[in-house]
Structure formats: structure tokens, C-alpha cells
């Protein structure tokens, strides 16, 4: 499932990330890689997704979230 379909409070592990070199380098440098644990803090309509990963609060545009697939639950 995609990252944006998670609900507030859900925890998940990133399984795959798609995109061009530019996007991959940006998203990994902010701490999101396959295997990262994430927790959703806020998921409001028409707002970026707010999640917590590697001790960091990250705001992420919804469209970009579509390229990030996750497995719910903590591995």
C-alpha cells in the first residue's frame, strides 16, 4: 500500500521507493529509505502528510507519497 493511505497513528515500514535520481536523492537524504520505520502524525486532506522517522518530523507532499510503498506494522 502507499504511504498516503496510512491513517494517523499508524506505524509502517517502507518497502519500496520509486522515482527519478533527483527524487531518490532528496527523499533518502531526509531519512526515508526502504526499511525505514515511519509513524504517521497527521494526514489531513489538502495538506502534506506529516510523519515521524529517524527522530525527525517530516512534511511530505501527497503526490510524492504515491511513489512510496509501505508495509503496515513494525517489522
Amino acid at each position: 500500500m502507499s504511504l498516503s493511505s496510512l491513517a494517523v497513528g499508524d506505524e509502517a515500514v517502507i518497502t519500496s521507493i520509486d522515482g527519478d535520481v533527483r527524487f531518490l536523492s532528496r527523499i533518502t537524504s531526509i531519512g526515508l529509505t526502504p526499511g525505514s520505520k515511519v509513524k504517521v502524525i497527521k494526514n489531513d486532506r489538502n495538506r502534506p502528510l506529516l510523519l515521524y522517522s529517524r527522530d525527525t518530523m517530516i512534511a511530505l507532499n501527497k503526490k510524492e507519497c504515491e511513489n512510496i510503498k509501505v508495509q503496515e506494522g513494525v517489522a
Binding site: S29, I30, T33, D44, P48, T56, M57
Partner: protein, 671 residues
């Protein structure tokens, strides 16, 4: 080395406290310019320690050392240029796992470096203990734990710096290399890379970047390879699809192995407190942001007031000085030049500096505390429609008070194109001076209809902003910069008021020298145009030109008097009504009206003399005209581009006349 002085380059992700450290180290001794041929801001400063002067170069903020943006390429080229004697890498102690990414991306570069674990206070509050000695041992570079706001504790930092410079400490990348070796093709790739492809960058670093599909590295390496090797090199790279994911896994694994030994009690999470809940609220978030910006605008006036007082005080001296000069036998022309151009310009500039100082200080503080990042989140979708980041909402809101403040506030936007576009859009927002004259003019001419006019002005403003974004967006904001927000909401930081104050002062000083070049010539030109030896309006060049082109300006609903007042409004909107009054009812001179030294305005004379459609045209022309000479100067200062300042000014002149044309002809249909 620059001029025999040793150079320290600061490298860190956004929010690592880099600019705070830069301000803390250099204080007033800094200057801002552009990187040669680029639109990225270049900040350099210096400090003296034990009688020796050091240069500090603030490398552009970026999250990594990839080759995806101008900022990152400038950083890489700077390191390769050999100018930096040591690179100071910053990380946020409270979130080491992510913020050490820059260090891991630096690993493999042979330029000496040292690590600053910033925001130690935040980490401590979250119950994190970092074993600095263990990190030193693993990395074999000097490491220091620091709370950037605390200059008193800089001693440790200086020691680290000196150690890095004298011992030329190079980051030990062997353990990261061991991780890289697990990637398929890495070892073969590394073996193919010849010596010294890019100065300072080791084969380890180049091979990892090649795996990531880094274009610049790919080009530099393949240029040096024989035909067969080149083909093989490119073959390996193209096979390693999504290599960035593989190398970043190595980097985070390496970081985790560092942290597991050096950080204890790594359990706590960043609190999502009451303020965060309120500002990110679905309904209340936006109103709260608007309140914060209004509060910030009012707050900016507090440090600005003394400056404004001084500026106005000097302005008040102009009339007695002028009459004094005339009595002493100084020719009218010379006295006017001294009083109305030189002194008047200085008054404008001092008042402007006060406000630039206030805005830089207050909004710089909001940025440093971490509020600006939240504003970005709240307005991401709205401003995204204009091709801008969420932060851009701030300059637009500030412009309701003062366009110059909006332009100065745009400096928190880290992308140059988006910064220029934001300022261009913010110009469409009628400023405080427009709000002072437009409702007054409207109600005098149209009674209760004034309310409707104000509503229409607000709607036109929104449309104007949208159209401006469409017209300039394509030129200013590259398509690849238009992707959505990927940003950290940093933990709240204590702002370093002292350093910020010094920074704002330095900034104001810098502004002074730049804007003098803009304001004095514009004031001089306008004064020459409005000068007449006899004192009557008919003797001015404005009159001659105005009456000559009147057939054209009439199309826009502006006779020569209205057009003169319109021209005056691009110097300062406050003066527009005064100029009308001077021309229609002889209440003073044109320049006196702009400078605010004329007698009271005669509104009654205006109402009887100006037909309603022309008044309406005038209202729209003035509202959407170039805001004022000071806003032009501030725009030049922030964009560092005379070209774009001129383009935006010309665009607003044409746009306002077009709106006047529409208003005039609609008015003709009504009345």
C-alpha cells in the same frame, strides 16, 4: 586559502544551525553576494582568533552532495577548488541518525574536516547522551558538541578547528567503504576509476556517486577512460538502477553503527505539542499563521521605530533648511537638489533601513525558532498552486503593511527563482500607503460605493497575483524545482538574539550601500522632472511631457495632472493625493507633495474637478502601480538582479495602466 588566510567552509543540512553558527562566528564581519554566474546567495565572513584572521565560507544549504541543484554543485565545486582548508560539517544532535547523512555523504572526500554536533541543548532535553570521544575515535576527525546560540562555549570549537587545520584530519571512510563493497558492481567500478579525476574526491566517493547515477561524476570519469573501459563503466552504472537507494542504505547502516556505540538513551520522540497541534490544525492553522505574520509585522515596527523617527526628524528639517539656503543666496536649483534629492533620499533610506532591520530580525527569528517551517506546511497546497513554497505566504501578507518589508522578508525563501517570483507577486498586494489613500479617495468620490471598490480591488489583487505567477513562473521556477514539499519540521530552537541582531545590523549596512545607488538616482530624476524655476507646475518637464503625451494617457483615463500624480505614486503612494491637490488647487509643489511637506490637501477641489470615470481609473492605476522607490530598492537588494527589478517594475507600470484603462471604460459606461 584566500589571500594567505585559512578558510573554513560550513557544510550542513537545513536546520542544522548552520546560519546561526555562521552569524555567531563572524558577527558583523560578513558580506553577502552571489556565486559567480549563479543565482545562489554567497555568504562569506571572517573572524580573528589569537591574532590570526580566518575566512568563513557558508556553503549553500542542501540535504546532500548529489548533483541535482545549483546549490549542491556550488558546494562540490568549492570543495574541489581547494579554497577550503577545512570543512566544518554540522549535524543536529537531537536527530543524529538523519542529520549525520551529510557527514556520510562527505565520507571519501580528502579535504580535512571536523564535525560539530549542534543543538546539544535540545538533545539533552530529550534525554540523549552523546559520547563525543567514541565518535572521534571512529571517525578520526575532531568532534565537538555545541549549542550554537552559546558563543561563550566556542572555545572547544576553535580548538577543533585548529586541530583539523594543523593535523589535516581526514574523515575515516573505511567502514562505510566496507558497506559499499556489498553493492554489486561497486568494486569493479572503483577499480576502473583513474587517479585524480576530481581534486579532493577519492575513488570511494566517486564510485559511490557513479552508482547513484550522478551525472557530473559520470561525465568526469568517462572522459578519462579508454573506449572499452568507458563502455563497461556506463554498463555497470546503467545496471545499478536506483543506486541511490543502495548507497543510502549503506550510509544509514554506517551511521547506525556509529550511533549505537556513541549515543545512549536514543528512545525519545520529538514532542508534537500544543502549538504544533494548533498551527497544523485543519481549520485554525491558516488563521493562526496569518495572526503570527501580522504579529511579526507589528513586532518589526518596534526595532524600526527609532530609525523611522530619525528619518522623519531629518525630513522635518528640510523646509527650514531650504528656506535658509534660499535666503543665504543659494540658487533655487542647488537648494532643491540638496534638500529635495540628497536629504530626502537619505530620509527614505534611513526609514527603510529601520524596517529592513526589523523585518530581518523578527522573521529571521521566526525562521530560526522553526515557525517558518510550520508555515510552509500549512500553506504548501495554497502557494503550491502559484508554483511557490508555503513560506511565500509570509512576504505576501507582510506586503499589506509594506512592500519593502515583504521583499526583505522574502529572504527566508531558499530558492532564488521562488524568491524573485514571491516578491513579484507580493507587489500586487496594496500596501499600507495605498490603504491610507484609496479608501479616502474612494469614499470622497463614490460615497458608499467605496466599499464595493475595495472589494473589487481585493479581487483584482488575487487575479493579478495569479496572472503574475503564470507569466513569471515559467521563467523563474524551473520545472524540476516545482515538486512538492519534502521538508523537515525541525524541533523548536532557542533563537540566538545577539547574533541575529548583529546579523540584521550587518544586513542593514549592506542594504544601505546597495539602495543608495537606486534611490538617489530615482529621486534625482523625479525631482528634475518636477522642477520648475518659477515654482509653478507649468514650468516642469512633467507638464511638458505630460501634456504632450496626454492624447495617449487619456486613453487610460488619465489627463496630464492625473498622470503626473500617477508617476509620483511610483516614488511614494502617500504623495499621490498631495500631488493632485497641488496641481488642481495649488496647495504646494509636486515634489513637496511627495515629500509630505505641502499644505493640507484640498479634497473639495478634486471632487469638483475630476470626473468619476477618471477618478476610478486613477484609483486603480495608483493601487497597482510600482509600490514605491523604496520597494524597488529592497527588491534589488534581495534579488541581487537589476534585470529582474527592472522587469518587475516595467510589468507593474504596464499592468496598472491596463487596469486603469479597463476601470476608465467601465466607468464611462456607468456614469
Amino acid at each position: 586559502m584566500i589571500d594567505g588566510k585559512q578558510v573554513i567552509a560550513l557544510l550542513g543540512q537545513p536546520n542544522s544551525g548552520k546560519s546561526t553558527l555562521f552569524n555567531g562566528l563572524t558577527g558583523l564581519k560578513q558580506h553577502v553576494g552571489n556565486w559567480p554566474g549563479k543565482t545562489v546567495e554567497k555568504k562569506e565572513g571572517s573572524f580573528v582568533r589569537n591574532g590570526k584572521e580566518y575566512i568563513v565560507a557558508d556553503l549553500p544549504g542542501s540535504y546532500s552532495l548529489s548533483a541535482n541543484s545549483d546549490e549542491e554543485m556550488i558546494t562540490r565545486d568549492y570543495i574541489a577548488s581547494g579554497k577550503a582548508d577545512a570543512v566544518c560539517i554540522l549535524a543536529d544532535s537531537s536527530q543524529l541518525e538523519r542529520s549525520l547523512f551529510m557527514l556520510s555523504d562527505y565520507a571519501g572526500i580528502d579535504v580535512p574536516c571536523f564535525l560539530v554536533l549542534n543543538l546539544a541543548d535540545v538533545a539533552e532535553n530529550r534525554g540523549k547522551k552523546i559520547n563525543v570521544e567514541a565518535l572521534k575515535k571512529h571517525l578520526s576527525i575532531p568532534v565537538v558538541s555545541l549549542s550554537a546560540p552559546d558563543t561563550k562555549k566556542y572555545d572547544e570549537l576553535y580548538k577543533c578547528m585548529e586541530e583539523a587545520l594543523t593535523k589535516k584530519t581526514v574523515l575515516d571512510a573505511s567502514k562505510l567503504e566496507a558497506e559499499y563493497e556489498k553493492i554489486e558492481g561497486y568494486s569493479e567500478l572503483k577499480a576502473m576509476i583513474p587517479d585524480g579525476v576530481i581534486k579532493g574526491y577519492s575513488k570511494t566517493w566517486l564510485a559511490a556517486k557513479a552508482i547513484e547515477g550522478d551525472k557530473a561524476v559520470k561525465e568526469a570519469v568517462s572522459q578519462r577512460l579508454a573506449f572499452d573501459d568507458k563502455a563497461r563503466f556506463i554498463q555497470i552504472i546503467s545496471k545499478s538502477e536506483k543506486g541511490t537507494l543502495a548507497t543510502s542504505k549503506c550510509k544509514y547502516d554506517w551511521i547506525n553503527s556509529l550511533i549505537s556505540e556513541a549515543v545512549v538513551n536514543n528512545e525519545s520522540v520529538q514532542p508534537f505539542g500544543k502549538f504544533d497541534k494548533a498551527i497544523t490544525h485543519k481549520v485554525w492553522g491558516k488563521p493562526l499563521v496569518i495572526l503570527i505574520v501580522i504579529g511579526g509585522l507589528l513586532g518589526s515596527f518596534i526595532p524600526a521605530l527609532p530609525f523611522m523617527g530619525i528619518g522623519m526628524g531629518i525630513a522635518a528639517l528640510i523646509p527650514p533648511l531650504q528656506s535658509g539656503l534660499l535666503e543665504a543666496g543659494v540658487p533655487n536649483f542647488v537648494a532643491g537638489l540638496i534638500c529635495n534629492v540628497l536629504i530626502q533620499s537619505v530620509c527614505y533610506i534611513i526609514q527603510m533601513l529601520g524596517f529592513v532591520f526589523g523585518v530581518t530580525l523578527v522573521f529571521g527569528m521566526l525562521e530560526e525558532i522553526g515557525v517558518m517551517a510550520r508555515i510552509s506546511y500549512v500553506f504548501d497546497n495554497t502557494m503550491g498552486k502559484l508554483g511557490l513554497q508555503g513560506k511565500s505566504v509570509m512576504p505576501c501578507l507582510v506586503s499589506f503593511g509594506c512592500t519593502m518589508g515583504g521583499a526583505a522578508g522574502a529572504r527566508v525563501i531558499d530558492n532564488w527563482g521562488q524568491k524573485v517570483l514571491t516578491i513579484a507577486i507580493a507587489w500586487a498586494v496594496p500596501c499600507g500607503a495605498a490603504w491610507a489613500i484609496i479608501p479616502m479617495l474612494s469614499s470622497n468620490f463614490f460615497g458608499a460605493g467605496a466599499l464595493l471598490i475595495i472589494v473589487i480591488i481585493l479581487l483584482v489583487m488575487l487575479l493579478h497575483m495569479f496572472v503574475t505567477a503564470k507569466i513569471f513562473g515559467k521563467m523563474l521556477v524551473k520545472k524540476e524545482d516545482r515538486y512538492g514539499i519534502i521538508m523537515e519540521l525541525p524541533p523548536y530552537h532557542k533563537p540566538k538574539v545577539g547574533a541575529l541582531m548583529r546579523y540584521a545590523l550587518g544586513r542593514s549596512k549592506d542594504t544601505f550601500f546597495r539602495v543608495v545607488k537606486v534611490i538617489i538616482p530615482i529621486c534625482a530624476i523625479f525631482w528634475l522632472l518636477s522642477y520648475s524655476a518659477s515654482g509653478v507646475a507649468e514650468g516642469t518637464i512633467l507638464y511638458k511631457v505630460g501634456t504632450f503625451i496626454e492624447p495617449v494617457t487619456k486613453v487610460f483615463g488619465l489627463n496630464w495632472k492625473l498622470f503626473t500624480a500617477y508617476v509620483a505614486s511610483s516614488v511614494g503612494k502617500e504623495g499621490a493625493v498631495g500631488v493632485l491637490s497641488a496641481l488642481y488647487a495649488n496647495t504646494g509643489t509636486i515634489f513637496g507633495a511627495v515629500a509630505g511637506t505641502n499644505a493640507a490637501n484640498d479634497m473639495q477641489a478634486l471632487i469638483t474637478a475630476i470626473p468619476k470615470p477618471e477618478a476610478l481609473a486613477f484609483i486603480f492605476a495608483v493601487t497597482f502601480n510600482v509600490p514605491c522607490v523604496v520597494a524597488v530598492a529592497a527588491t534589488y537588494q534581495e534579488t541581487h538582479s537589476a534585470k529582474w527589478t527592472a522587469i518587475i517594475s516595467a510589468y507593474y507600470t504596464v499592468g496598472s495602466l491596463l487596469l486603469a484603462f479597463i476601470a476608465y471604460h467601465i466607468g464611462m459606461l456607468i456614469w
